[in-house]
């Protein structure tokens, strides 16, 4: 046994040589594996010290909040009194008694279903087109397309472009061109709010995925394309489907993760452009609802249930996208 713990490699050999029942052999094998694991961990003890600071921070500020959120989603918790366990009551209330949540859920699903795929696919198409440009032009065009993503609160300029009076840019031009006869209240008329928000979200949604696509396209081995040409690839589209896409599945997945995050997290844009709450809750999103209950009403349990639903929606979308991306190029 002592040989097992100190030199695990021979330990495995000893365990398999032993005659015995299947079960005892299985136990011996497991023991040897555990011993190897322990030995390997001891070998790397310095590396755990390297990882520890980040792992602790990550655990406390990223992983723990998810767990805490799930825990509080089953309680009534208003910060002042201790949390009281109420089972699935929060979830039942959300889906059966909260009309505004259902509106918010519909809006978020609509926004995510439109801005997610369109933003993702257009980010790839733009990256692909940009990659066909000469090298020096590429950097400039990349900046033009990516600048809205990084310029933060600059999206507020859209409230001037879509201002409700005749001074608004969109109104002024559409009236001059004869499309409209009187100014439209873009940001307070429920009929127009959602399209405007979608435009603004798409404008600022290219994100880190776009950069990953450009970088990924530029690093695909040129010889693959040459070989493809020999094998009779006729045009750009065939090249895209048979060579480019299968070679950047990793980037596609990274871009997808970023797109899912961006499309479910819409909340700031709607609150700042259309007001909080917006007219008839026309662009009220799940994130807006979460902020409403978490930051204003202090119903933390209820807000946690909303957050948990968002987690689940994100994870399911990721799994679905993964399935699609694995089929690319076949």
């Amino acid at each position: 046994m002592s040989a097992l713990t100190t030199t695990p490699i021979t330990g495995v050999a000893v365990a398999t040589e032993k005659e015995g029942t299947n079960f005892s052999r299985y136990c011996a094998k497991k023991r040897a594996q555990l011993a190897y694991l322990w030995w390997s961990m001891k070998q790397h003890k310095w590396l755990y010290l390297f990882l520890a600071p980040y792992a602790i921070l990550f655990g406390v500020f990223v992983v723990a909040p998810v767990g805490i959120s799930i825990f509080f989603s089953f309680t009534y918790f208003n910060v002042l009194e201790p949390a009281r366990f109420i089972g699935f009551q929060n979830y039942l209330n959300l889906f059966l008694a909260d009309d505004v949540f259902l509106i918010a859920l519909r809006n978020t699903i609509l926004l995510a279903a439109i801005t997610g795929p369109i933003g993702y696919i257009s980010a790839f198409l733009f990256a692909w087109f940009i990659n066909e440009l000469p090298r020096y032009v590429r950097a400039v065009v990349t900046l033009v397309f990516y600048a809205p993503t990084i310029s933060g609160a600059t999206f507020l300029i859209w409230s001037l472009i879509f201002a409700g009076d005749a001074y608004g840019f969109a109104n002024s031009f559409l009236i001059r061109w004869g499309v409209l006869s009187e100014p439209v209240l873009w940001l307070s008329n429920p009929a127009y709010m959602m399209p405007v928000v979608i435009i603004v979200v798409l404008w600022m949604s290219l994100g880190a995925g776009f950069l990953a696509f450009i970088a990924g396209l530029a690093t695909i081995d040129e010889s693959l394309y040459e070989a493809g040409l020999m094998d009779g690839i006729k045009n750009r589209w065939q090249e895209l489907w048979f060579i480019t896409l299968p070679n950047m599945q990793g980037m596609l997945m990274f871009g997808a993760v970023m797109a899912i995050m961006a499309s479910f997290a819409v909340g700031d844009v709607t609150a700042q452009l259309a007001g909080f709450p917006s007219t008839d809750y026309a662009v009220h999103t799940v994130v807006n609802h979460l902020v409403d209950y978490g930051a204003f009403r202090f119903e933390m349990g209820y807000a946690s249930a909303i957050a948990t639903i968002l987690f689940l929606a994100m994870i399911f979308s990721k799994i679905a996208v993964q399935k699609i991306i694995n089929r690319v190029g076949t």
């Binding site: 390297f50 792992a55 500020f61 090298r135 840019f169 970088a215």
Partner: protein, 294 residues
């Protein structure tokens, strides 16, 4: 080796591939021009508004381009800020302090952790990395409430640390650093080990200089997040508040502050864009390794 390869690729790129149609080239240019205008237009609008005198800001019909550019708006902003209760320099100091300490700490802790996972196959390393990938999706909104409770329990609410320490744990920087470190050859680490270098020495003297592009990229994402975030819920003492919050107060003045507001928008936009332009080539090198393999 890598450089030679890149040069060969560039040479090859300049030769027109025979399977490209002229019509397709034209189509690409037209599409990029139309959408380029869509992406650039609001930013051009912000830029022009910042230099418009008041009478042009309220011109009817509205114009995109400025006729008589003026620096009046930016001057007004500084006059306004110099009269505020908490001095303008204090807001700038707060923002710079939070951004710099948050970013440096994030890069230090994340690169150390990434080194351990990337260069060695330690038990649990893969699991940890998969956890990081999953959390890439979770934005600040969904974890805001538990984060507040944790920070409150630590007694950090209303201090700089409430913003700085959670920023250390950002998953995106860790992810990009790990992916980029994977491209550093293991033989380099092994040969230094034979020469008698300690883990710390290999990490700080050999791996860190080689992953500079990834460090710069991590810096961009971290700066971007910290620079733009007003964090009004975590810090409420006026003297500790950040620049975005102060600027929000300025623009809250409404129509009378339209000119100043335009100057504010320009300032908020210019910093992240400048940082991006300076480090663009490094970012591109890092993003080339960003693929998620399953």
């Amino acid at each position: 080796m890598v450089k030679v390869k890149a040069r060969r690729r560039r040479v090859a790129r300049n030769v027109r591939r025979p399977n490209r149609s002229r019509g397709g080239d034209l189509f690409i240019l037209v599409v990029l021009a139309i959408f380029g205008w869509f992406f650039a237009f609001p930013l051009i609008f912000v830029l022009n508004n910042a230099f418009k005198p008041l009478n042009e800001l309220f011109l009817f019909p509205p114009r995109l381009f400025v006729i008589n550019p003026t620096l009046g708006n930016i001057q007004d902003l500084f006059i306004l800020m110099s009269r505020s209760w908490v001095t303008f320099t204090r807001y700038i100091f707060n923002t710079v302090f939070i951004t710099v300490v948050g970013t440096v700490g994030h890069l230090f802790f994340a690169s150390m952790g990434a080194y351990a996972i990337s260069k060695y196959n330690i038990p649990g390393g893969k699991l940890f990395f998969n956890l990081v990938i999953t959390t890439l999706m979770f934005t600040g909104f969904v974890t805001a409430i538990p984060n507040f409770l944790i920070l409150a329990n630590l007694g950090w609410i209303d201090t700089y640390w409430a913003v700085i320490v959670p920023a250390f744990a950002a998953p995106l920087g860790f992810f990009l650093l790990k992916q980029f470190m994977d491209t550093v050859p293991m033989s380099l680490v092994e040969s230094s080990k034979i020469d008698g270098a300690s883990e710390w020495r290999i990490y700080s003297r050999i791996v860190m200089p080689l992953v500079k592009p990834a460090l710069l990229t991590g810096m961009i994402f971290s700066v971007q997040a910290l620079w733009n975030n007003p964090q009004a819920t975590l810090i409420y003492t006026e003297q500790l508040k950040t620049l975005p919050f102060a600027l929000q107060q300025v623009t809250a003045g409404g129509i009378a502050r339209a000119g100043v507001g335009a100057a504010v928008a320009l300032i908020m936009m210019i910093v992240p864009i400048t940082v991006f332009v300076i480090s663009q080539s490094n970012i591109m090198r890092t993003m080339a390794t960003s693929g998620i393999k399953e």
